[in-house]
C-alpha cells in the first residue's frame, strides 16, 4: 500500500514537471506570437502613424525614446512609438542574425537601437537588413565626426546617433587632496606621472587609482584613441605590434603590477566590487559609467571629472561604447521613420526637448552639438561637486579623434586583454602581442 502511494506520488511529480515543461515552452511560443503579431501591426499600412523600435535599457535608452516620442507628438499628434524592450543589447544583434540567416526580414521592427562597434559588421554581413538615412533631412555637421564614423558605411549614413560614449576620467577629489594633489595635478599629465601619483595614493589610502574589467579590457582601445592611434591599419589589417600599442600595453601592465590599476575578473566584478564597492579613487570609461559611480551615495559631492592622461602629457580624449538608431528594411513607412529620427535625435526642431528629457530621465548625453548647448546641460551636478559635467562631456566629445574602426573590434579587444593577463602572469610583451596579432589575422582570414 505504502509503495503504491509512493509510486503514485512519483508519477504525480513526473506529470507535474512534464506539464511545467509544456507550460514554459507554450508561454515561450506565446511571447513569440505576441511579438510577431505586433510586428504585423507595424508592417500593416493601415496605421500610418505607428513605428516599432527595439531597445534594451529601461533606465537609459528607453526613457530617451519615450522623450523622442513625446517631442514628435508636437508635430504629429497621432504618432505612436511602440517600444519593445529587449533584455540586453545582444538580443537585437541576434534578431538581425536570425532574420538574415533565414532570409526573412519581416520579423524585424521598423527601427532598432544598435551598438556602435557592431554595426559595421552587421551592415557588411546583412546588407539587405537596413535602410539608409541618406535622404533624411539631417545636418550631419551638427554631430561629432568620431561618433558618425561608426554609423557611416562607404560614405552613406545608416543611423542616427543617440548617446555619447565620450570617455571621462572621474577622480575622488577628497582622496586626491588627502594625498596632496588637486584636479589640476591629474589633468593633462603623462601616464608615467599618473603611475607615480597612483602609487602614492595606494600607499597612503589603499585605494587603486583606476580599475577595469580585465576580461573585456577597454583600456587599450581608449588609450590608443587618445593618442589618435588604432589597433587597425587604414586598410583594415590588424596593427597590434606597433610601438604605440606596445607602449600602451606596457603602461597597463606596469600600472597593474604597481597597484595603480586593479584588473577585475569580469564586468560585474568591475562595476560591483571595484566601483560600487568603493575600492577605487578614479574611474575611466565611457560616460555611461556615471550611473554606476552614483550608486555609492556616501561619496556624493566628492567626485569630479577631467580628461585622460596620454603618453605625451596632452589632454586625452576618447570614446567608448554608445549606440545609434537604424531603420530596418522591414520598415513600411520609411519616410515617417526618417522624419521622426531627423526631427528628434537628428537635431531637428524637437531635438532640444528630446535630449533634455533624455538627460534628466535616463542620463543619456547627446552627441548633437547644438542640443548640448541647452540650459539643462549647463547645470551643475551635485554628485560631482556641482561641476557642470554634461556640457563638459559634450565639449570633450567634440575633441575625440577619429580612428580606424574595424568589424573585428571585439576580437582585437579580447585578444589584447588576454595578452595583458598573460604578460601579468610573466609572459613576454613582444611575443604575446605578436601572437595576438597572428591570431587576429587568422580570425580575419588574412
Amino acid at each position: 500500500m505504502k509503495k503504491k502511494l509512493l509510486s503514485l506520488m512519483l508519477a504525480g511529480a513526473l506529470a507535474v514537471t512534464a506539464f511545467a515543461g509544456c507550460g514554459s515552452s507554450s508561454s515561450g511560443s506565446d511571447s513569440s506570437s505576441d511579438s510577431s503579431s505586433s510586428d504585423t501591426a507595424s508592417e500593416s499600412t493601415d496605421d500610418e502613424n505607428t513605428l516599432t523600435v527595439y531597445a534594451w535599457d529601461a533606465n537609459f535608452n528607453i526613457p530617451a525614446l519615450k522623450a523622442a516620442e513625446a517631442a514628435y507628438q508636437e508635430k504629429n499628434p497621432d504618432f505612436v512609438l511602440n517600444i519593445e524592450e529587449q533584455s540586453q543589447s545582444s538580443d537585437v544583434e541576434d534578431a538581425v542574425t536570425l532574420a538574415g540567416s533565414s532570409g526573412d526580414y519581416s520579423t524585424l521592427p521598423d527601427i532598432v537601437l544598435f551598438q556602435d562597434h557592431y554595426i559595421q559588421k552587421y551592415v557588411a554581413d546583412y546588407p539587405d537588413a537596413w535602410n539608409t538615412m541618406a535622404d533624411a533631412d539631417i545636418d550631419w555637421s551638427d554631430f561629432g565626426a568620431e561618433k558618425l564614423s561608426y554609423s557611416t558605411v562607404d560614405g552613406v549614413h545608416y543611423g542616427v546617433p543617440v548617446d555619447n560614449g565620450t570617455v571621462i576620467f572621474a577622480y575622488r577629489v577628497d582622496i586626491l587632496e588627502e594625498c596632496g594633489y588637486t584636479m589640476d595635478d591629474v589633468t593633462g599629465i603623462t601616464w608615467d606621472r599618473f603611475i607615480e601619483i597612483g602609487k602614492d595614493v595606494y600607499e597612503k589610502t589603499g585605494k587603486y587609482l583606476l580599475s577595469m574589467d580585465g576580461d573585456g579590457n577597454d583600456l587599450p582601445y581608449m588609450m590608443l584613441q587618445a593618442e589618435g592611434a588604432s589597433q587597425f591599419n587604414e586598410d583594415g589589417t590588424p596593427n597590434l605590434t606597433s610601438d604605440t600599442v606596445k607602449d600602451i600595453v606596457d603602461v597597463i601592465t606596469r600600472m597593474s603590477q604597481e597597484n595603480v590599476l586593479y584588473l577585475a575578473n569580469d564586468w560585474s566584478d568591475y562595476t560591483d566590487q571595484t566601483i560600487m564597492g568603493d575600492m577605487v579613487a578614479g574611474v575611466m570609461n565611457g560616460n555611461w559609467i556615471i550611473p554606476t559611480i552614483e550608486q555609492v551615495e556616501a561619496n556624493s559631492g566628492k567626485w569630479e571629472i577631467t580628461t585622460m592622461p596620454t603618453l605625451s602629457g596632452e589632454e586625452g580624449y576618447a570614446s567608448n561604447g554608445g549606440s545609434s538608431l537604424y531603420i530596418t528594411s522591414n520598415c513600411s513607412n520609411v519616410e515617417l521613420a526618417q522624419d521622426f529620427l531627423a526631427y528628434t535625435f537628428g537635431g531637428g526642431e524637437g531635438a532640444i526637448a528630446t535630449y533634455d528629457s533624455a538627460l534628466t530621465d535616463g542620463g543619456v548625453i547627446t552627441c548633437c552639438l547644438s542640443a548640448g548647448e541647452s540650459e539643462v546641460y549647463q547645470q551643475g551636478v551635485a554628485y560631482f561637486n556641482d561641476q557642470a559635467i554634461y556640457s563638459k562631456i559634450v565639449e570633450m566629445g567634440g575633441n575625440v579623434k577619429t580612428v580606424t574602426q574595424s568589424d573585428y573590434h571585439y576580437s582585437a579587444r579580447s585578444l589584447v586583454a588576454a595578452a595583458i593577463i598573460n604578460i601579468n602572469q610573466g609572459a613576454e610583451l613582444d611575443s604575446e602581442l605578436a601572437s595576438a596579432q597572428e591570431q587576429l589575422e587568422f580570425e580575419m582570414g588574412l
Binding site: S90, T97, G100, Y126, N265
Partner: protein, 294 residues
C-alpha cells in the same frame, strides 16, 4: 489469425510513427543540414560553398585558440574523470554497507548536488571563489593566506576550481549508478569470498570491480561524452578566462556562432563535427577496452 497479427503490427508502427517523424524533423534533418553548413563559409545571410570544400575542417587545426580549447577540455577529461569515478565508486562502496546508520540520508546528501541547475551551481562557485568571496575570507582569517588570492584570475587555480566544481557536481550522479550496480551483486558471492579468506581489498578488486564492469563502462562513456561537451561551467564560472586558459570546445563553438557578434555558423558546425567524431572514437575505445567477452 494473420489479420490480427497484421493489425497489431500496424498499430505498432502507428505508435512509433509520431515519435519517429518528430525525431527525424527535429534532430536528423538539422544534423544533415549542419553537415552541409560545415562545408560553407561566409555570413549567414549569404553562405557559399567553401573552396576547397574542407576549408573549415583544415582551418580549425591552424586555429591556436581552438587547439587551446581542445587542450583545456582534454586536461579536464584526464584529471577530472578518473578522480570523479574513483570517488564515486568508493562512496558507493561505503554507502552500500548494510550496517551503516542514516544510509538514506548520506545517499541523498551525496546525490543532492545533481539536483542543482548547472548555471546556478557555477554562479555559486564563482561567488565562493571570488577575490572577496567566502573561501578567501576564511583562508585569510585563518592566517593561511596573507592577502586575498584571485583564484579565478590565475590560470592554474581557475582550472583547479573548474575541476573541483565538476567533481562536486557529478560524483553523486555517478555514485547512484554504482550503487544500483552493487545492489545487483548477490551477497552470497561476498560471503563465499570471505569464507575463502579474501580481505576487503581483494574482494573489491576481484569481485566488485569485475561485476560492476558494465556500469563502469557506461559511466566512463557518459563522463567522456559530458566532459567533451562541457559548456556551462566554462561560460558561467570563468567565462573562459583568464586569457582563454579555461575555455572549452563547446564554449569556443558558441563564441563563434553567437558570441561577440560573429555569426560564423559554417566554421562552428565544422568544429561541432570534430567534437562528435572525438566522442565516437573515445567511446569506441572505452567499449573495446572494457569488453573482453571474445
Amino acid at each position: 489469425m494473420k489479420t490480427i497479427k497484421r493489425k497489431q503490427q500496424l498499430a505498432g508502427w502507428g505508435f512509433l510513427l509520431p515519435a519517429s517523424i518528430l525525431i527525424a524533423i527535429m534532430s536528423f534533418y538539422p544534423i544533415i543540414q549542419a553537415i552541409f553548413m560545415s562545408l560553407k563559409t561566409g555570413s549567414s545571410a549569404n553562405l557559399q560553398w567553401a573552396n576547397p570544400l574542407t576549408y573549415n575542417y583544415t582551418r580549425m587545426f591552424k586555429d591556436a585558440l581552438f587547439l587551446r580549447s581542445v587542450g583545456n577540455t582534454f586536461l579536464y577529461l584526464i584529471i577530472q574523470v578518473p578522480i570523479m569515478l574513483i570517488l564515486a565508486i568508493l562512496l558507493a562502496q561505503l554507502l552500500n554497507n548494510k550496517d551503516l546508520k542514516f544510509r538514506g540520508l548520506f545517499r541523498t546528501m551525496v546525490f543532492l548536488p545533481c539536483a542543482t541547475a548547472l548555471v546556478s551551481y557555477s554562479l555559486i562557485f564563482k561567488s565562493l571563489f571570488a577575490t572577496q568571496g567566502l573561501v578567501n575570507t576564511i583562508l585569510v582569517n585563518l592566517g593561511i593566506f596573507e592577502t586575498n588570492y584571485n583564484f579565478l584570475g590565475n590560470t592554474n587555480s581557475a582550472r583547479a576550481i573548474i575541476i573541483i566544481a565538476l567533481i562536486w557536481r557529478w560524483t553523486g550522479y555517478n555514485m547512484v549508478f554504482y550503487l544500483a550496480g552493487l545492489q545487483n551483486i548477490e551477497y552470497s558471492v561476498y560471503e563465499a569470498a570471505k569464507i575463502d579468506g579474501a580481505n576487503s581489498w581483494k574482494t573489491f578488486w576481484k569481485i566488485t570491480v569485475p561485476l560492476l564492469k558494465p556500469t563502469i563502462i557506461m559511466t566512463v562513456i557518459m563522463s567522456i561524452n559530458g566532459t567533451l561537451q562541457l559548456f556551462d561551467e566554462s561560460v558561467n564560472l570563468t567565462s573562459g578566462g583568464p586569457a582563454n586558459s579555461t575555455i572549452t570546445m563547446s564554449h569556443y563553438i558558441y563564441n563563434n556562432s553567437f558570441g561577440q557578434g560573429v555569426a560564423n555558423f559554417g566554421y562552428a558546425s565544422a568544429m561541432s563535427f570534430f567534437v562528435f567524431i572525438l566522442v565516437a572514437i573515445l567511446s569506441r575505445i572505452s567499449m573495446k577496452v572494457g569488453d573482453k567477452r571474445d
